[in-house]
Symmetry: D2
Subunit: 400 residues, 4 copies
């Protein structure tokens, strides 16, 4: 989910207006507690300012719907195309990603005006759009939901560099999930159908549905918890080279990792910085903010491994498996490559997924930062194996 | 002037209150046209956010005057010492310089409160302060004036990375200076007294006054102009290796310099980004935003050289030399080293100047961004030879 | 093949002495035309000096066979373990890889003595070794064959940085391969057995054999040629962003790629530096020294794609497909991950493959630099997608 | 002395042949104990291979004497100009400095042939050369002597990265110097004549002689010793930020300095790697392999300072000051800038000194690696303030 948005079939829904208003409104709700200054900051090249997310998701509707489909539409500001294009090479030149934080102008207030301008034009146009255009509306909303999650993880990263540890959401609570012990649930082998096939929206990287042959395997009934991770730390997991991939060990050494991102040790006790501020670490909550390298090393330490994408997806139909979505994205054992027969959409929108299918590892599920209803069992998320600023965790698997 | 503040004799002035109010008020005036977002941005490790300058100069009075000299003073916020200390190692740990731009909190408004809190306490205390404490008040004001210039050059640098080229001061005009042709004015050799000796405030690096032996020399009556620099560019100055110091040529190659910083070429015409926005280059204005390497190469190209610090200072007494201050800082041929017999003040305040006396080149004069009355002929400014974001230009000299 | 060596079943062969002598002798033959200075140089951290390869492959036999299995064996020099261990963390500390080129001592002559000392001890011991030990002998020989290829590509890389373009093998000729036009050969879909199962040596990453489901596909009958690549260059392939993966485009920009590694353009004509020196580019020879990024972009430009590992391996049984091995390693569409059920060998030898199974792309086939008989259709080679100094090329594939 | 060679008046000496033979022969003697592999290695961009030094000094005579002054001379190999030019931009393109270590060809033996070819031609030509040409001969010999020192310090640096710690000169002994205690010797102030004026060879940076006004000062009678430096380490000198220049402290942090270069601590005892190998540190020998930053911090710790260049030169005439030359180069308090009225020689030879006169600090004296008779009291050596691989030490000074 690297600034990614994607594609697919029209949402047949008649209440398009409501859905448009709800998704767009959710973005504004998310940023409501953030000051103009908070909305401007960019803490690393991987992240973007909140204001930029708000403007970029708006530009998407302007660029791909209003300009091509609504002849009377007046572009809000002709400079915004350059400023708020993320990576669509086909659309033209753009402001370099690492310098998004320099954009103190346009102001957060002007971005709000931009959003209202585009929203009004979109609401007026929705009734007349059809076919491809309606597909792009849905794509734009799905795209915006992806940025809602990035908006949160990006501002969390920025705040983590402020010694005052600002609170994003006062009163925010960790989701503890199931109180039961983790069990390994057996899953049969054989040919399984993987990928999206049954109607409704999906991104192009979930297609085409296809057959995959699996050996029998077992998968953990729950996510790995913070208390499990503390045991890994205590057992010198971060100092034991034999647990790590070679490239992972190099990251441990160069970045000095000794715990997940956003953990702080104060006088021997662990704290975690999260949307609710710097709080005592909750041992029963699923671990998050770990890289693929750490997930992989932990699994090896635990005498297990990560499930592959296909194993994870096939297990969705097996009873007894919990926490499939809604806590943390779950690293898998699979590298990001296209499904057999994959074809990107032609044109700029085709740049969404295809060009990122290298050097990244797949995540499945969805996190507490993912908007409700956004993911599904075929959903494919991806990040480079050293990234830690997303809500990333893991579930174990084993050969049978 | 690398976040530098310094030292010296008490300002005997009875109207200390007025001066305090004026200098402090000038900082607020300078930032009045800037939004909260503008005040938060940091465009490179060399620069600091406007808000940070406002807070740091305030912390100086709190740390070095209110806390030690005013027993009843209540510290505004105990976290601010960590956030707004610039480089005083003796005072304790501090927020790392490259991450000052992450401080979206405290807000610009809270920094305003901080300023008012400290100003009120200072105004109440001023009547009772004496001796050393009064010296430190004056030092704090001089320090604040230095940051007023940095505040301007830093926000100009940040704005230069925004394709909208925001205007800092609408209607701002280039100072053209003298309409006369440049002449070389002869200056006699012999022993000259250099450095500060005649009362009034100075920084410790201007002392002690001492004798320097000079050969006779000639110095340019005016600063080098933009039209001169255009001739240098036209004559392939940036492509002619023999004009450059070896380290300078490496900078030309790696940074891709082809003109001063903030120059833009649009369809063959030169524009300059400045406080008034992106405007057509004014050929008669003194050139600015050049590194020492460029000044040195230009001088060689012109069959001349830069004056030494001592030559520059001695020439101040010679009639016929114009534009001594108020346009641009003037690079000299001298490296930053202590004057013979130099001794830093003991304690934290002694860290102001001494520890920067290496790898930097001296500038003299003062610029249009320097607050009125801040500099004098003995004033020593300094930057690394590759820095270009200050209002830096040059005057030529020759051997006789 | 990143300094990798691996594992497997004993070579049942009775003429173990002969094979040992032949493989070890081939290394010495390969380096016979190289001076002591040639053997010492390391041109980049990815490469190693020839002398180091000669010593490291020898250390392997000393460390994993003579020391554990031959009680009377006298270690040649106790310092060599530190100097010539490549990456076996379990074995102890080692000289850092980027500084292998500093080892002017021991001399190439002393390394020759070391090889003779170990060879004599091995030949004396061979008759008494059995079971596991014999497996390790075979592993050591396979390991040495891998280093024979690295030795050649590493010295080629070093020589390419010398403006004199030294010749490694006078009279060396390009293999032109088949004179026929490339056709796409149809391959049926369904379940296919992939991986090594039929006896004889293999590396652990080729196991276990397992079922993979394939869609029907077509694969190119021949490798892509230099003349094809010239057409790609002419058609601005290196300037067309839409052909490239996002990370690949970043490499094109930062590294300035405009042609395969070791190509030189002289007055409009292409030359290629190879084992025979700098020679006119042979249009009919398979292209080599390309990264995965370039192979992938070329395939997209050609309206095709790379075959997956499994497609490549399954096609080996299809008639009409040529140049399966012996020219260049062929990049595939598959990322390096373990086969289902993969288990590394316990202990130091288990470090050979497993820890490299991330961030790398698979190659199949074998090159003109690969020792005869070393590869097989199940053989899995791997490099990071930006690497170009190996003999790497490509074969196209298509969906049906 | 950064690959520097320079300029001046003809050596009037009649026995030019003898001197030529002696200096050239000394280079060969220095490298006689080094293998071909030793002669090829380059351990960092600052250093050059021994073979390169041998060839470059030879190329100097070919380029600046034989080619212009001896019409019948046959260039040895036309490729050598590109390979062995150091930095003379006026002469044409050249092999990039960081890749000198890739030049396994031409071999050390061919470089020996090159030297003999040029020596023969030079010996034949010497009798007929006059005026300017004779000056260049002398310059070439002085240049070669500078490289003799670099040759030694460069190979020492390369060997220091080899865990075998090879010995350059078996039996090499530390010079202990004077057995007396260090005293501070008073030197009077006033106008002093500095620079070279009294005949004989000098480099252009020693001219013109000129007047400098000094305050009275005191200078240490001896160099600082290893035992003094051990006290500095023991007193946490490397951990005490207030002793360091700001840029120096940054180097301490980033490079992890805790002792001079080439010191090794083994079980609490200090050893030093030098031309005689890794030997117990000799407490009474002058400290060496320190950067200017370390020298400056040490002086501050000792309640003293470094002498300026002019103070050092003026003190040469004062009785009671010992170890003026022959142990270590002595860092001074002065930055490298031209003397008043300095003019480089026109043409390529003028590139020797002038273009390095920035960002470097001056050293005076001469070291045990400097060829006998090479330096004088006006001699100006220079390195960047963070460099440590030369034989650099210090002498203290104080204000009176």
């Amino acid at each position: 989910m690297d600034d990614v948005a994607h594609y697919q079939e029209p949402s047949g829904s008649a209440d398009c207006h409501t859905r448009f208003r709800d998704v767009r409104g959710h973005t504004e709700n998310l940023s409501a507690t953030l000051s103009d200054e908070d909305q401007c900051v960019q803490s690393m090249p991987d992240a973007s300012p909140v204001k930029w997310h708000r403007a970029h998701t708006t530009w998407f509707f302007e660029q791909f719907l209003l300009v091509p489909f609504v002849p009377a539409y007046q572009v809000f500001d002709s400079a915004f195309g350059f400023l708020f294009n993320s990576y669509y090479e086909a659309v033209g030149a753009r402001h370099p990603r690492p310098f998004r934080g320099l954009l103190t102008r346009p102001s957060a207030a002007q971005v709000g005006d931009y959003r209202r301008h585009v929203d009004a034009a979109m609401q007026a146009a929705l009734a007349d759009l059809k076919g491809d255009a309606l597909s792009i509306v849905e794509l734009g909303l799905q795209h915006e939901q992806q940025h809602q999650e990035l908006l949160w993880t990006d501002i969390l990263h920025a705040f983590s560099g402020n010694p005052l540890y600002p609170v994003i959401l006062p009163g925010w609570q960790e989701c503890l999930g199931s109180p039961q012990e983790t069990r390994f649930v057996a899953c049969p082998g054989g040919l399984r159908r993987i990928g999206h096939a049954n109607g409704g929206f999906c991104f192009d990287n979930e297609t085409p549905a296809h057959q995959v042959h699996l050996n029998g395997y077992a998968i953990g009934s729950r996510l790995v918890r913070n208390r499990d991770w503390q045991a890994f730390i205590q057992d010198k997991g971060y100092q034991t080279v034999s647990l790590w991939m070679s490239d992972g060990w190099a990251s441990v050494q160069s970045a000095g990792w000794t715990a997940p991102l956003h953990w702080r040790n104060r006088d021997g006790a662990w704290w975690q910085f999260g949307p609710g501020g710097l709080l005592p670490l909750e041992p029963d909550a699923p671990v998050r903010h770990i890289s693929w390298y750490e997930a992989d090393a932990f699994a090896r330490w635990a005498g297990a491994r990560l499930p592959t994408e296909a194993e994870w997806e096939a297990a969705a139909a097996i009873p007894g498996i919990d926490e499939y979505t809604g806590h943390v994205w779950q690293w898998t054992d699979s590298a990001y490559r296209p499904y057999p027969g994959y074809r990107p959409v032609p044109g700029a929108i085709g740049e969404y997924n295809g060009k990122f299918m290298i050097n990244q590892m797949m995540l499945r599920g969805g996190s507490s930062a993912t908007p409700g209803g956004h993911t599904r069992t075929t959903y494919r998320n991806f990040f480079h194996p050293d990234k830690r600023w997303q809500f990333t965790g893991l579930r174990l698997a084993r050969d049978i």
